[in-house]
């Protein structure tokens, strides 16, 4: 039972020391209207003696019961707004505090009515745990499932089903078991770490703070014992340091500090870090403390750090441990909860705000709506208030992000109306779909040609194929591609040459040289080659293409039968000697990042159709080797 801590009277300093060391746990209470949420919170506060005497007096007045406090309407503790008192329902999220011996709790009491689902999502966004109330007489309702789904969607890891009003079903074990079985069927579909069931009566106080003598059959913990003991993890990613830059602090004597709240991991002075998206690395110089500098800082702490080198970082940039990376893209896939009266339609322009900056975005496609009652995906042309949907969103600038499942901080955003500034939606970023896997819009159809492949073959005197020339910088890809093009042209073939560098001057000018961007460049070349092949042309692609996985994806795209991979296996020393523009030296000095062969890996093809070491053969010899392979495979006549 809850009695006042004797330390308060005997040693207040010791009491406060203990108090400062307590955990903080945030939980939300939700459930259908009239399930007794407000009464439960009133009960928690009353039984843990947190309602002050004058509040009890005000409550007695509101309850219309004079001073007879045994009949207090405990729900009135939390239903603070006048409109709520008049209508007898909870509209908005109300935050309350209470404490046990080990923990301090902040409760978000969220509304039950379906029209206020957005408020429930608000409470869930910062909660570790959700207490979902069910009326024992009514059992699992649509709203129970809806709230459970939204809590899980927002990353609440522990669900407690508090089966309330047990006093009204004669404390029946059988009824409780029915509800447990019913809910377990549903909760299996949710991505949560634990689900707990507790039979209670908030009105009578059974199994809330005091264990119930009316339900001797129940062997589990009381609600308060459960809350006091459940294991709450702060961060699973101790090694993955993340500091979103919130503000650059300047002070006299050229002080330049980067301020923000660490969202994951831990950092110490001297450790190497990289600023994203720039990719520039430095070391932590100081973690500036108020009275003295800190030797370590971890997730949850608001800090200001300085770096050894002067690098340019601003609000919305992300500092990570050197070697780590996050996604950086124009497009994101996300689950959104729509919170505005007017429906969301595809093409709608909005403003996105996240920890990693703001951007103008457009919801391009509604992939599907989620029926939260059944968790089924259903097609939808638009999204109404309180509905949940998966959408494809594109931005006018590249966005840094991580999936919400990995990071609540780097994976969440809100959408804001560009005119009224109202908050329209909450978004949770999904694990991104690689562009290789993205499916085109379902409404698109193939426009077929009347010219057959056979007709093209007769006209051009060849069978189409794609020749990929891959190898390090300086291996001779462009030179051989150009010579091969000349040779084929002169003998009457119809070809198209796709040089990696030329492609980057046009259709890929938005891409850089990261692994992701190189993969995307190859995908675009492969798509173009496929189009050319379908028109009867032979495509020659000269690209570095350093990753085996991307090459294999390109091969699948073009088609195995039409794909010829030529590996220019030239020793790196020869490549370096041929490099007249000093790229290798610049890469070694760290001026060029992600340079295959120096600062990035080149995964040599293991089963290329042809391997040519251009260090001991002429360009003509190389071309002839390729020609004989093409002849042998029957793409061109001998």
């Amino acid at each position: 039972m809850f009695t006042r801590d004797p330390l308060i009277e005997s040693d207040i300093s010791a009491y406060l020391e203990q108090r400062a060391e307590k955990d903080l746990v945030r939980f939300l209470t939700c459930g259908s209207v009239d399930d007794g949420k407000s009464t439960l919170i009133g009960r928690l506060l009353y039984d843990t003696q947190l309602i002050a005497d004058d509040h009890i007096a005000a409550l007695a007045e509101d309850s219309g019961i004079g001073t007879d406090t045994t009949q207090l309407d405990l729900a009135l503790v939390t239903d603070g707004l006048q409109a709520e008192r008049e209508q007898g329902i909870t509209i908005d999220v109300a935050y309350r505090h209470f404490a046990t011996q080990n923990r301090n709790f902040i409760i978000a009491d969220t509304p039950g009515h379906e029209q206020y689902t957005r408020n429930m999502a608000t409470g869930a966004s910062t909660a570790d745990l959700a207490v979902i109330l069910v009326d024992a007489r009514k059992g699992i309702l649509q709203q129970t499932r809806r709230h459970s789904y939204i809590a899980a969607l927002l990353g609440v890891e522990h669900l407690v089903l508090a089966v309330n009003k047990m006093d009204l079903v004669e404390y029946s074990e059988e009824r409780f078991s029915e509800i447990v079985a019913d809910y377990s069927d549903y909760s299996k579909t949710l991505d949560v770490r634990s689900v707990e069931f507790i039979p209670i009566s908030a009105l009578e106080g059974d199994n809330v703070v005091k264990s119930s003598s009316a339900m001797p059959w129940f062997e589990g913990p009381t609600l308060i014992d459960y809350l006091d003991a459940v294991e709450i993890e702060v961060s699973y990613r101790l090694d993955e340091f993340r500091l979103p830059i919130q503000l650059v602090l300047r002070a006299p004597s050229a002080f330049r500090g980067y301020a923000g709240t660490i969202t994951s991991g831990q950092i110490r002075p001297g450790e190497r870090v990289t600023a994203l998206p720039s990719g520039v690395s430095s070391s932590i110089d100081r973690i500036v403390g108020y009275r003295e500098d800190l030797q370590v800082a971890s997730a949850g702490e608001s800090v200001a750090i300085t770096l050894v080198d002067e690098i340019d970082m601003s609000r919305g940039d992300l500092l990570v441990r050197e070697g780590e990376n996050v996604h950086f893209d124009y497009s994101i896939e996300a689950m959104i909860i729509w919170m505005a009266e007017a429906a969301l339609t595809p093409g709608q322009q909005m403003r996105l705000q996240s920890r990693l900056g703001t951007a103008n975005v457009s919801v391009d496609t509604i992939r599907h709506r989620v029926d939260v009652d059944t968790t089924q995906m259903v097609p939808a042309a638009q999204i109404e208030l309180n509905e949940v949907a998966r959408c494809a969103i594109s931005s006018d600038r590249k966005l840094l992000f991580e999936p919400y499942a990995t990071s609540r901080s780097e994976g969440s955003f809100v959408l804001i109306d560009r005119i009224t500034n109202a908050t329209l939606a909450a978004g949770m970023i999904s694990v991104p779909i690689s562009p290789w896997d993205r499916s085109p819009d379902e409404t698109l159809e193939v426009q077929t040609s009347t010219i057959t492949a056979k007709e093209r073959q007769l006209r051009y005197g060849q069978r189409p194929c794609t020749v990929l020339l891959t190898g390090l910088t300086g291996a001779g890809k462009s030179t051989i591609a150009t010579a091969l093009e000349r040779y084929l042209f002169d003998r009457g073939n119809s070809i198209v040459r796709l040089d990696g560098e030329n492609v980057r001057l046009g259709i890929s000018k938005d891409l850089g040289f990261t692994s992701e961007d190189r993969s995307e460049n190859l995908r675009r070349v492969a798509e173009v080659a496929r189009l050319m092949n379908s028109q009867g042309l032979i495509a020659i692609a000269a690209l570095l293409a350093p990753e085996a996985d991307s090459r294999s994806r390109a091969q699948q795209l073009v088609g195995d039968a039409q794909w010829i991979e030529v590996f220019l296996d030239t020793p790196i020393s020869v490549c370096r000697d041929r490099d007249t523009s000093g790229l290798y030296e610049a890469a070694e000095r760290g001026e060029i990042h992600d340079f295959p062969g120096v600062s990035a890996t080149y995964e040599a093809p293991k089963d290329a159709d042809l391997r040519l070491d251009t260090s001991n053969m002429t360009v003509d010899q190389s071309v002839l080797e390729i020609i004989s392979l093409l002849t042998e495979k029957g793409f061109i006549d001998g």
């Binding site: 009277e9 060391e21 002050a52 603070g80 935050y95 608000t122 709240t261 608001s302």
Partner: protein, 314 residues
């Protein structure tokens, strides 16, 4: 392992629990920094009370080693305790903080006072109207306040970024959803945001933090022998000769302290022997009466705080 022992930040390698007060402090610092990043002209409402002292301390931490990048605004009703005013001027001078003091000059001219005009009219003119005028004149787009969700029932639902229209009105039924810690601070011209960095703190948290961080507060919070008279259920301290005494009435010397500080004729003292912060905390924990009870204005009518807030009161 304790690191940076003079601050609240004492994380160790293996211990990743969220220590309670550290979490609250970190959240408040985040909010301060967010406002300074998002707004053009923030200001901090400074009431000189203990919550203001905590707020100021947090602001200094948030921007350390830089200066606090916004001014403090004090709405002076001319009825504040004398000790409050001298504390205010000394602290701002010592800490090199820009202070703006605003008084409703027309109200002073009309001799508006809490005795002749009642607490409702007086508060409206000298506090609410004065605050609105000062915010409008200063073209501030964000104003920090020290309100907490545990103080009063309507405050439990207030956002951390609380939107106000161009008449400084709060619409409790139409608040912006506030998810995660993504605060939408976008406003149109003339509109503004009230910001409450210590929303999630309780009265005990404030006292606990004052104790841990050794924050200076107005001595009126600590018990001392002071001249008081009884008015209804409240003990009112006689701070100057403007207080109307009954014929022949003499103030009594009592050991009292204040749980909350406002205008002296409207602020009830409690009898107490707690003359240190620790003793105050101990006494508070042993008592069971909530903090705003000493304030006469909250009890005008049920839900009166919500109404005042809708009208623009902090």
């Amino acid at each position: 392992m304790k690191v940076g022992s003079d601050t609240l930040q004492n994380s160790s390698l293996t211990d990743h629990r969220r220590r309670y007060l550290e979490s609250l402090e970190s959240e408040a610092i985040y909010v301060f920094r967010e406002v300074v990043s998002q707004f053009r002209r923030p200001v901090m409402l400074y009431s000189i009370g203990k919550d203001s002292s905590v707020l100021l301390h947090l602001a200094r931490k948030a921007f350390h080693p830089g200066r606090v990048p916004f001014p403090l605004l004090h709405i002076d009703t001319t009825w504040k305790f004398k000790e409050m005013i001298s504390f205010r001027d000394r602290i701002c001078a010592e800490l090199d903080i820009e202070l703006i003091v605003h008084t409703n000059a027309k109200g002073v001219e009309a001799q508006i006072n809490p005795f002749d005009h009642g607490s409702h009219t007086y508060t409206d003119i000298m506090k609410t109207q004065a605050l609105k005028a000062a915010l409008t004149e200063g073209t501030y787009d964000a104003a920090f306040g020290g309100a907490r969700r545990d103080e009063e029932r309507s405050r439990a639902k207030e956002r951390i970024f609380s939107f106000r229209d161009s008449n400084h009105r709060w619409d409790p039924k139409n608040q912006r959803p506030e998810l995660w810690n993504l605060y939408n601070g976008r406003i149109s011209a003339g509109e503004n945001i009230r910001v409450f960095p210590i929303s999630n703190w309780t009265e005990l948290d404030v006292w606990h933090y004052i104790h841990l961080e050794n924050i200076e507060i107005v001595p009126l919070y600590l018990a001392a022998s002071r001249p008081v008279v009884s008015r209804g259920q409240n003990l009112i301290m006689i701070d100057d000769d403007r207080f109307p005494m009954a014929t022949g009435e003499q103030p009594l010397m009592r050991s009292v302290r204040f749980r909350t500080l406002g205008c002296y004729p409207l602020t009830g003292a409690v009898e107490s022997e707690a003359s240190t912060v620790l003793e105050v905390i101990q006494e508070t924990l042993l008592a069971r009466s909530s903090e705003r009870q000493g304030r006469v204005i909250d009890h005008d009518q049920t839900g009166s705080m919500e109404e005042k807030k809708r009208e623009g009161y902090f």
